[in-house]
Amino acid sequence: MKKLINKRISCPSVHAMSTESFRISDLSKFYGPTLALDKVTVTAPKKAVGLLGPNGAGKTTLIRILMGIIRHSSGSGTVLGYDFCDSIQDIRDHVGYSPEFTPMIPDVSAMKYVTFMGKLSGLAAVEAAQRAHDTLHYVGLAEERYRPLREFSTGMMQKCKLAAALVHDPDLVILDEPTDGLDPTGRQQMLDLIERLYKDEGKSLIVSSHLLFDVEKVCDWVMVLGRGQLVTSGNMSELLADTSGMLRLKIVGDASSFSRKLTARGLEVEVDGPFLDVKRDNGTELAILEEVNRDPQVSLRYMGSRTRTLEDVFITIVEGRELG
């Protein structure tokens, strides 16, 4: 009871100065006999963190543990510097969470719903109502804010969930499958919103998704889970960096003929759709340019390092690991 009548909590907290979104150590979670998370240890920076993994990898379980919705079986951790065993209420006050599914109170308006969420996070009634107006404007639901939630489309509901997650001005926003069920336009709008949150408003993000393009677009740090274990984590740029040492060309002209000419010069060439990937070695670029000059039917449009998409990385490390 003493906890319930504690004095008003001033904001922001010194913990908000933490440089980490979250840090977990040997975190495990069992659902009965099923192991959902297996001794995961990771430190995520205060950036836009992408949480990747196939279905059943443990992404939502990890998020629910971070929010204190479920209890972990073993291990320890902090969110924004707050220990999630001792300071779960502080975590809840400083983290905004938009769940994967659609939690609904069907008969209330978006305005009432978001205001109520603000009050649950400790905002005074007037402040909660003002911020509900602001956040609903921000996510693009200004016109629809007095409509009952049962009339909302999937896209509008996703935006409403985002507004509810933002209403108490959290330092960290956790978005579980934020583009789930959206059409291409709605998806793009949602990704733009998330990007704005990170770049313009300075919010730290955790975006959990199985849509790799979404994560690649908005996140700059990723962690990949597979079968409850941490598969890899790190900066997006490092993950996407190509380590194969291949040079990628795009030419206009007969690509297969040009490929044969390069092979004849002793270069290792792979045809990848409209691209040619050439094994990089000393003098490779010079040899390619000489061949381009020699063949008037061919013109070079692009020559540079081969880049990988997040999908390439994901398939390599997650599916390769599962095959292994």
Binding site: K3, L4, I5, N6, K7, R8, I9, S10, C11, Y31, M67, G68, I69, I70, R71, I88, Q89, R92, D93, V95, Y97, P99, F101, T102, P103, M104, I105, P106, D107, V108, F116, M117, K119, L120, S121, G122, L123, A124, E127, R131, H133, D134, T135, H137, Y138, A142, A164, L166, H168, D169, L197, E201
Partner: protein, 328 residues
Amino acid sequence: MSEEPPSEDTYIRKFGFRRFTGIRQNRIYRIISVAWFNLIEAIRRSGFTKMLLVFMFFSILIQDVLIIVISWFLPFIGDPITINELFRDAYADSVLGMVSLVNRITVLDLGFIGFLPFNISAVGISFIWLLLMAIVGGGLIADDRLHQTTEVYFSRISRLEYVLGKLMSLILFSTIVVVLPSIIQYFLLSYGLETNLLVNIDLMFWGIGFTLLAAVILSIIILALSSVTKRRAVATLTFFIAAIVMSSFYSAIGWTQSESMLLLLDFVGAIALFGAIALGYESLNINGRDIFFNNGIGIEGSMVIGIVLLVLMLGILALIITLFRRDS
């Protein structure tokens, strides 16, 4: 100095995201927010609830007016009890009647019929109150589970705060529906019988405490039922039917014995018996038969207290098992 024309972007920036620099409220504020929001929404979205509330308002009005009218037309004879004793018995009887269903539990000698009509009205109030509690409380947790709203609650407040908020919404509701009328009745009856308000003030506090206790126990039971299902209709009907059926056993089967143990199955009536014991009554009249709490035969006072505590414990246990299991 020229001012740039406002663009769509400046509009969004003006009404868009702002940093929160205020002060967060304490935990009790959040519990009250849950209670108030749920209370208002539960009443607002159900036309039947509103209709029952209107019906209940008129029941209470009729009962309260009856108190004064009957006291005018049935002049007090003065024998064998004093006017103050009559006031105490009549008030206790009226309040007990609000928390008894099928079984007619009274502290009055039924040979004296002067105040019987408004006791029947009080029993009517108990039916409507129970039905309202079942309708309002049945969906409080079941709807959240159905629409997965519990996830957003638990990402902001603790499970204890959630349960306390829901409980408080039902208690607030009961406060409006029975606690407040019990206070009003105290003043009206005192006015009607022309007794001194302060002499029997303990009785008013008993009325408040008893109706609040009944509200808490019944709220916990309905919340426990609501937490084990995702269908509000299941929780609502289970609660209401169980209350009626359990209270019917005594009048249907146990009527041949005045102190039949079947009376203890009536968990709503048991709360009324508990209230009478708390007020110091050692015997009551149930369905026209007298029962004695301390005669060593049949129902004893300790059994009544035990049953009330058992029902309370079972309700709390069911809530804890279903809601505080954090893996769910």
